[in-house]
Amino acid sequence: MSRSAALPLASVPAAPPTAASDSELRRDLRLIAEMIEPSARVLDIGCGDGALLAYLARTKGVDARGIELSQSGVNAGVRHGLSVIQGDADRDLAAFPDDAFDVVVLSQTLQATRHPRQVLEELLRIGRRAIVSFPNFGFWHIRLSLLLRGRMPVTELLDHPWYETPNIHLCTIRDFVALCDEIGAAIERSLTLDRHGRPFFLDPRGSLANLLAEQGVFVLSGKRGKPRS
């Protein structure tokens, strides 16, 4: 993985890769992990089997919590000593108090929520910062697939046929940026990843990023005059 010096992300040097940990962690999760300060209070929504949480707890001493919809994922996380509850982003965020976490992570999950706007607002309420990653529906491969084949695109990231996809609220990077503006979320950092998951730096508001990025990773903070980190 090449880390461009232009990347405005890595506030903390990544922990030295240990054993299987680094290779096990999905590339976008590794990038997210690099954005999180040591000892932070982190909530990972849609944490799957808890790979990111385990990595953060092990390498950064993070107070890591997770929410996961699938019971098998929850059980796997708790079996491995992680703090994970069964729940979902649409329903179970309201119970948390304001600013309960330093960072709230929503990776590859926003597009599967019923009410993405409310979920985003909740993220910014319960966390000082939110890190959101999602597949970019404006990616050239997707556009081309729809244009030339006239069928709903199926890609590595969006690998379900239309009739059984959990991804009910797909958006482009520009759509996402517009929603951030609408709800008054400040984009502190952004990162675009190509189809190999490699990061490249482009203005997320530009057309090129929206065309070339297969996924976007955004660090957001709320509008309520909270101190920016």
Binding site: G81, I85, G87, A95
Partner: protein
């Protein structure tokens, strides 16, 4: 407080009060010195009256308890095991009356989930019980007769207050964990709420933050069955040399159904007939499920006191953590909260998952460190007592994680 332990071996655990520097090995359980009761294990006699929720001061009184494993030098590896409605302190050794193995031998033992080579386990009979801790069967010092219904009504919080005295007596400032299923879960929650600084981790299994209307209703059926037995005699059966065993058996039979699930009953018995090829057109136990329930009822009365059943079911009925805090469940968990692992079972209709989820939301509201696992099983409420590998893996993972956070790397002194 006076501690009593008899049976040849020198008194061991209770003398920890002197804060002896050496670890306390309590693998051989001494016997208590209570007249009339000769249950194996430890007992702590407390002279100071206990102020109960009902306003009455109870005392002097006795708490009977069992311990397993060894308390480490730092006294940081203690786990309090809380028993359910009809359980007792014999969670890991044979019951002195029935001879049956302890009720949580699935979890407890060397190398087990509650590993007696790593942890020091304490299990105390609840106040109001009938296995050595003061309850309605014991003698009321004011009358010289059994307490019966003159025994004050106790609550889950009263049970926990009594347990706290035992924990203090053993010189343990903070329990590593409080764990229990059903009514044991209620006690674990009460511990977290009443003594948050004295608990590092809490594991309420198949529990709830309050007893539901349906559960109160089932308990009332059980109590009415006992009271309808002519041998109950207004609760004074002991003085009159009688025992309302039919009423208690019916109470147990009704309750036992609520501990299972329809699927489990069907899997176990279906409509199978008991030792016969056809129904008899009578009211004998034609069906296996009837025979099973009758057996459950008749064996239960050998080891349980009917008045204790009334008192302990009442304590569960009164349990409502939020009500103790102005109706707010999060307020019950204000302060420095332990790490929680909440477990429910899919087929448990007595303490359904929704109750555990409400608990999780209450804990989320104070941003407590909480894990919540719902385990898929058809075994119903009783699943917490049975062989349930997913439960074992969950608890082992949670406890191992907690032990790391607690710095419990060294288990032997």
């Amino acid at each position: 407080m006076r501690s009593a332990a008899s049976g040849g071996a020198p008194p061991t655990a209770p003398v920890v009060r002197t804060l002896a520097p050496s670890p306390v090995s309590i693998l051989t359980a001494p016997r208590p010195q209570r007249p009339g009761h000769d249950w194996p294990g430890h007992s702590l006699a407390i002279d100071e009256p206990l102020r109960l929720d009902c306003g009455v001061e109870l005392g002097p009184f006795t708490v009977a308890y069992q311990t397993y494993g060894t308390l480490n030098r730092e006294r940081s590896n203690a786990i309090l095991v809380c028993h359910a409605l009809t359980g007792d302190q014999y969670c890991a050794d044979p019951h002195p009356i029935t001879g049956h193995p302890g009720w949580w031998t699935t979890l407890i033992g060397p190398g087990g989930v509650l590993d007696t080579e790593r942890y020091f386990l304490i299990c105390a009979n609840v106040i109001g019980g009938c296995m050595g801790t003061t309850g309605p069967r014991d003698t009321n010092p004011a009358t010289g007769d059994a307490w019966a219904l003159d025994f004050p009504v106790i609550t889950i919080r009263d049970m926990v207050r009594a347990q706290k005295l035992v924990v203090d007596h053993l010189g343990i400032e903070q329990l590593f964990c409080v764990i229990g299923g059903s009514m044991g879960a209620m006690q674990a929650l009460q511990w977290a709420s009443s003594y948050p600084d004295s608990v590092f981790a809490a594991v309420p299994i198949a529990g709830a933050a309050r007893h539901s209307a349906q559960n109160i209703a089932f308990h009332e059926v059980g109590r009415q069955a006992i009271m309808a037995d002519p041998d109950w005699c207004g609760g004074r059966y002991l003085s009159l040399g009688r025992n309302p065993s039919r009423g208690l058996a019916v109470a147990r039979m009704a309750a036992h159904i609520t501990y299972l699930s329809e699927a489990a009953l069907h899997r176990k018995f279906g409509r199978n007939l008991q030792d016969r090829n056809a129904v008899t057109y009578g009211f004998d136990a034609d069906f296996q499920v009837e025979s099973y329930l009758r057996h459950q009822g008749s064996t239960f009365v050998d080891r349980f006191d009917a008045n204790s059943y009334l008192y302990i079911t009442r304590a569960m009925d009164y349990f409502d953590l939020a009500a103790e805090h102005g109706g707010s469940l999060p307020a019950a968990f204000a302060g420095n909260q332990p790490r929680f692992c909440i477990v429910s079972f899919t087929s448990d209709w007595l303490f359904p998952t929704a109750e555990s989820r409400a608990l999780v939301h209450g804990l989320n509201a104070v941003a407590a460190n909480v894990s919540f696992v719902e385990i898929e099983t058809d075994k119903g409420h009783d699943a917490f007592l049975l062989h349930e590998p997913e439960l074992f893996d969950t608890l082992r993972g949670f406890l191992t994680g907690c032990a790391e956070h607690r710095g419990l790397t060294r288990f032997w002194p």
